[in-house]
């Protein structure tokens, strides 16, 4: 007989094992879904998870997709660790892209080493500005940040839409909804000839290192940890709650904004309608799959990035809609939440009693 017993304390080993278990269960469930759809499960999973990254180009694409996911998830973990539920990273990404894109367009047909840093900075500031809206509303008007940050995503997308079909659209662009190409000085340099992976990956890696340092070595990190466990304790300790809420939102917005910069100043080099395949939302899954730990987030962003690539390969080779990728992302989150049960409970096998 199997009995479910409460654990005396959440298991630390299980804490890091459940993400792996969740991925495994996702693969099993994915295989079953493919089987029901009439594909050979192993072959389909191979197309989904192995074929896309089997060559150099594929691997570069993997890093290209993982970069914004990692960057945003790192930013989000500042919020989530301190009990602030910013789910509007997609909007902060979009707005960061708009501001940095606008600055890049200002420097149209200009060259100079100073342009790129300004463009990058503009993106971070754009993201911060946009994230400051839910933060200020939360601290001073007691609004719910989940709702506000989510709704602002749609606002930012409409602003982008308006700009690329209206005032900012390319005068020589035959009314395509996109801006002019940025000058080369406003673009993040590509790292290898013929591959699309660009210098944005260094921003993500810098964010990983900095966040690790902040989380585990600084007073701010300590305050975030305490606030995450108990807001009552944070108040009792005398931490300036409002200041911290605003700070973590700004950090999170800056990261999302930088991800937006990477999307438009990377290989694409212009603003257009669809700058992000919902990286801002998917990064929430990445943050939790990585257990809000900087190193965990690196691995999680790679795993989730594969689902983007796999969806594309599957569409091409197996005629499965690419939205299957989202199904996989959803399943990962689902199984992760489900297997979190194991943190607090364990199965006990007991022999039948006489």
């Amino acid at each position: 007989m199997i009995k479910i017993v409460k654990r005396d304390q959440p298991s630390r080993a299980i804490f890091f094992l459940t993400p792996i278990l969740a991925i495994f269960l996702t693969l099993v469930a994915g295989g079953i879904i493919f089987y029901i759809l009439g594909f050979k499960p192993f072959e389909a999973l191979k197309f989904f998870f192995i074929v896309p990254i089997a060559d150099k180009y594929g691997f570069s694409e993997l890093l290209l997709k993982a970069t914004p996911l990692c960057l945003i998830a790192i930013g989000l973990s500042f919020c989530f660790k301190s009990n602030n539920w910013n789910i509007g990273a997609e909007g902060q990404l979009t707005f960061g892209a708009i501001v940095s894109g606008g600055v890049a367009l200002l420097f149209y047909e200009q060259e100079g080493f100073y342009i790129l840093p300004v463009v990058i900075l503009a993106g971070a500031i754009g993201g911060m500005l946009y994230a400051s809206i839910p933060a200020i509303l939360k601290t001073y008007f007691n609004t719910n940040e989940i709702l506000v940050s989510l709704m602002l995503v749609y606002v930012s997308k409409l602003i982008l839409d308006y700009l690329v079909v209206g005032p900012w659209s390319n005068p020589e662009g035959f009314n395509f909804p996109e801006t002019r190409q940025f000058s080369d000085s406003a673009k993040l340099p590509l790292l290898f000839e013929g591959l699309r992976i660009h210098a944005g990956i260094f921003l993500a890696l810098a964010a990983v290192v900095i966040s690790w340092f902040v989380f585990y070595k600084t007073y701010l990190g300590f305050q975030m940890k305490v606030s995450g466990f108990s807001l009552k304790t944070a108040k009792y300790a005398g931490y300036k709650g409002k200041k911290m809420i605003i700070l973590v939102f700004l950090i999170s917005g800056a990261c999302a904004g930088l991800a937006g910069v990477g999307e438009i100043t990377g290989p694409i080099g212009q603003l257009h309608r669809e700058i992000s395949p919902d990286y801002g939302f998917t990064a929430i899954i990445v943050a939790f799959l990585g257990r809000l730990h900087p190193v965990g987030i690196i691995f999680a962003s790679l795993v989730v990035a594969i689902t983007y690539l796999g969806a594309e390969t599957a569409q091409i080779f197996m005629q499965i809609p690419k939205y299957t990728g989202q199904v996989f992302q959803g399943m990962i989150l689902f199984f992760l939440l489900a297997s979190d049960y194991l943190l607090f409970f364990k199965f006990k096998f007991i022999g039948s009693k006489k």
Binding site: G221, V226, T233, Y236, G238
Partner: protein, 496 residues
């Protein structure tokens, strides 16, 4: 008819602890039995076994020679064992009557008659048709008791019933229990309050660390002998010296108000008091009368008008807790696990929650772990926290040790004023004694204390002056040697 309840060789083992170790006891109707023990002594486990909530690993229970199989609370009810838990199991929004009939399959009308006759018999006056949330704690407990009486139980078990009651309500409860006993209901009364045992019971069984230590007649015992049995060692008696009446004023609260936006909080109106150096001001009251709000206003979790709090000639009403600490005020909140400490964090991390500028725990925004660790080691040795591992998560400390850690953290900087809220709530006698000793020492060093507590005995023992909070208002401040627990009880209930 006589009822005989027999517990025979009951053992219940949890991982890492033997909650009941081969316990055998016999009860007969007509008497009131006390089951006495510290927290964790195993008395709750034993009564949960009797009421079918827990199934023992070994042992048997006999009611009038019949071996009972108690696999669920329903089995206990069927076998005429009624139980009133420490925490009420009532639906707040349903009416009293609905709460009473909810687990019954009898006709509504006949039940109503039955309930009314029970109420008449025992002189309970509760409106059956108002929602339970409008009742006082004492009335809610009566509802629970009536719910048991409907089933005409042979055995009635009361688990620490007085923790939420006023003095008056307690004596009413005792009268009712005596009446039930005279009518042949077997009463088992679980408590760690020695005074109540002496007042109410006929026989006492003492448990310690899962074992039955002794069974004896109350008439052969006294407070000291019971305390010694319960704790297993002789306790030092704490004697408080009288405070020096001629000392300076340290803190003065003037016209302090707090109006909450939260309907479940209590508003504070026009609070005025002052505390001199070396003095302990006790604030009594039934929980939920504004103590928590008062604590938060005093600690700075709730800010107030700058001039409403004058401390050591500084106005600090608009400062947050961390800023107030710099003026040498320390705080020990009621909730150890959700406020004063973070159980999931390590001991040394919990120490860092109280952060003075001069303690240098954080330099230029960086954590100075070495410093915090050194400081933590000093606290656990100076304040007898029973561990030497400061990397231990604080959830593994017992309540007493955690409270010692918190007290140590607050006191190691020798603050001028300690504000504490129910500092011994839920602790065992040994730990309570230690905390009381610590508090007396603070006063002896000419430092002051504001002690907000729901434990009247504690207040009478430690305070120089006492006031009572009722519905967010403070009574006039009295000298502790002029008040009695009866007088406090009247004020706590809103009387004059």
């Amino acid at each position: 008819m006589n009822t005989n309840l027999k517990i025979s060789n009951v053992t219940k083992i949890y991982p890492g602890c033997v909650a009941n170790d081969n316990v055998s006891l016999e009860f007969n109707s007509g008497k009131i039995y006390a089951l006495l023990g510290e927290n964790g002594a195993g008395k709750s486990t034993l009564v949960k076994i009797l009421s079918g909530v827990i199934i023992p690993d070994e042992g048997k229970i006999y009611l009038n020679e019949n071996n009972l199989k108690l696999n669920s609370p329903l089995d206990a009810k069927k076998n005429d064992i009624g139980m009133v838990f420490q925490h009420f199991n009532l639906f707040e929004t349903l009416s009293v009557f609905e709460n009473l009939i909810i687990d019954s399959d009898q006709q509504r009308e006949s039940l109503r008659e039955k309930i009314e006759s029970i109420m008449r018999k025992y002189n309970f006056s509760i409106d059956l048709d108002i929602p339970v949330l409008n009742l006082s704690a004492g009335q809610k407990q009566k509802v629970e008791i009536i719910r048991c009486l409907i089933r005409s139980p042979k055995v009635l078990i009361m688990d620490e019933p007085t923790s939420v009651l006023t003095e008056q309500e307690t004596s009413e409860l005792f009268l009712s229990l005596k009446k039930f006993s005279e009518e042949g209901i077997l009463i088992i009364y679980i408590t760690h309050k020695l005074k109540e045992v002496m007042q109410l019971c006929d026989e006492v069984a003492v448990m310690r660390r899962g074992k039955l230590v002794s069974v004896s007649q109350i008439k052969n015992e006294n407070l000291e002998s019971l305390a010694t049995k319960m704790v297993g060692q002789n306790l030092k008696t704490i004697k408080k010296k009288k405070a020096n009446t001629a000392s300076d004023q340290l803190i003065k609260i003037t016209n302090l108000n707090f109006i909450s936006e939260d309907p479940f909080e209590t508003n504070l109106s026009n609070i005025n008091f002052s505390v001199n150096r070396g003095e302990c001001l006790g604030i009594a009251g039934i929980s939920g009368n504004g103590q928590s709000e008062l604590f938060q206003v005093l600690s700075g979790e709730i800010l107030s008008d700058k001039n409403s709090i004058e401390f050591n000639k500084n106005y600090i009403g608009d400062l947050n807790p961390q800023e107030r600490r710099e003026y040498m005020v320390a705080f020990s909140p009621e909730d150890r696990l959700e406020q004063a400490a973070v159980p999931q964090m390590k001991i040394f991390e919990n120490v860092a929650l109280n952060n003075f500028k001069s303690s240098n725990f954080f330099n230029n925004g960086l954590i100075n772990e070495k410093k915090i660790r050194k400081h933590s080691k000093k606290i656990i040795s100076d304040f007898n926290v029973n561990t030497d591992n400061i990397d231990l998560k604080s959830q593994f400390l017992s309540g007493g040790n955690l409270q010692k850690l918190i007290m140590g953290r607050e006191l190691i900087t020798s603050p001028d004023l300690l504000i504490c809220f129910n500092p011994t709530w839920g602790l065992d006698v040994g730990a309570i004694n230690y905390i009381h000793e610590t508090l007396v020492n603070i006063n002896e060093q000419n430092k002051s204390i504001i002690l907000i507590s729901t434990d009247t005995d504690e207040l009478l023992k430690l305070s120089d002056k006492i006031s009572v909070i009722h519905k967010g208002k403070l009574s006039k401040i009295m000298n502790a040697d002029e008040v009695t627990s009866e007088k406090l009880g009247i004020l706590m209930g809103g009387g004059n």
